[in-house]
């Protein structure tokens, strides 16, 4: 980190809000909420709301720390150059303190209001994203996305543990689904924005290993995701509504991944159309899969899990 953004005016609250990556947070909140709602226990609405709020605040804190550390890299990429730090609308110390404050506050509130196991997993997820992924892996290995994907996989696990107070195979299956979903999701994005990553020296797989290797890896993870998505059904934690939805969604995901994995680029008008379609569908996939889990739970009730 070499540059220090100079901010003359006090930072607007909207820039602090932008620092929490609200769009990423929406997916985190959604999967965390699904983990909480799919758990086989009734949760007091206030405590459920508090648990989700803590997950959201923790994710926001981790995102702020990520942007604090990567301000120089963000300045070099078109997609991120307008963020508060590279845009010079906030100083780094404020971003760091904001990130640390949100992270510590979320863990403390989770521990006091919900339980210390959920708080400990929340703390691990924040450290995993801010330190293991952002500081350690992302600048060093093209497998950064694979291991870093663990950070995004924590919310349903935290939601489930916040509701039940213990870890079972079912929340671990939800963790595994997001873990194996992350590489094809991010690598399909990296395929069509790879010039930006190359410019700032981030060793994303398409930059380091090339497009063919990335396409193969996307396909491998999509193949693995299909049986993994059915795991909650096989474990008895979900019923036929989820099973049919998981099979359908994962089949479409695999079909789109096949088009990305087996193609050789020719002179099309939009040479990255299959990659963009896979990326767009991957977001719908995760929302729909977890929505199906909750719908299944409400449809059949939780009694069969007891």
């Amino acid at each position: 980190m070499t540059t220090q953004a100079i901010s003359h005016a006090p930072t607007d609250w909207r820039d602090f809000f932008a620092l929490t990556k609200p769009r990423v947070m929406s997916l985190v909140v959604f999967t965390g909420l699904c983990g909480l709602l799919a758990a086989p226990v009734r949760v007091h609405p206030v405590l459920g709301f508090t648990a989700i709020l803590c997950i959201a605040i923790g994710a926001g804190g981790a995102a702020a720390l990520n942007q604090w550390w990567e301000a120089d890299l963000d300045a070099g990429m078109r997609r991120t150059a307008g963020r508060p730090l590279p845009g010079g609308r906030m100083d780094r110390t404020s971003a760091r303190d904001f990130g640390v404050g949100l992270s510590a506050g979320s863990v403390l509130l989770m521990g006091l209001a919900i339980g210390w196991l959920a708080a400990a997993i929340l703390a691990v997820s924040i450290v995993y994203y801010a330190v293991v992924y952002t500081i350690w892996l992302k600048p060093r290995t093209p497998q950064n996305i694979v291991i870093g994907g663990g950070a995004g996989a924590f919310p349903p696990l935290i939601g489930w543990v916040a509701a039940t107070g213990h870890i079972t195979a079912m929340p671990l299956a939800l963790f595994a689904i997001i873990f194996f979903w992350t590489p094809p999701h991010f690598w399909s994005l990296a395929l069509f924005v790879q010039s930006d990553y190359a410019k700032v020296g981030i060793p994303m797989l398409p930059v380091v290993a090339g497009e063919p290797a990335t396409r193969r890896q996307i396909l491998i993870y999509a193949v693995l995701l299909l049986p993994l998505s059915l795991l909650p059904w096989w474990l008895g934690g979900a019923h036929v509504v989820y099973g049919v939805a998981a099979l359908s969604l994962s089949s479409v995901f695999l079909a789109l991944a096949l088009r990305v994995g087996l193609r050789r680029r020719t002179g099309e008008a939009d040479p990255m159309k299959p990659e963009k379609r896979l990326f767009a569908f991957s977001i719908i996939y995760l929302f729909a899969l977890f929505a199906a889990l909750v719908a299944d739970h409400w449809w059949f009730g939780a009694e069969y899990l007891r």
Partner: protein
């Protein structure tokens, strides 16, 4: 650092005021949340 880069005092006041309002709302929300958490934990 030239004077041309300095924001207008009116803009500074506006940003500070909006920040203070948001902070006040968040603190009030936190107090309400702690109240309801206490009720829920006792119940």
């Amino acid at each position: 650092m030239s004077l041309a880069n300095q924001p207008e005092p009116r803009d500074l006041a506006r940003v500070r005021r909006s920040r203070n309002r948001v902070l006040a709302l968040l603190l009030a929300g936190f107090v309400v949340l702690v109240y309801f958490i206490s009720i829920a934990k006792m119940g």
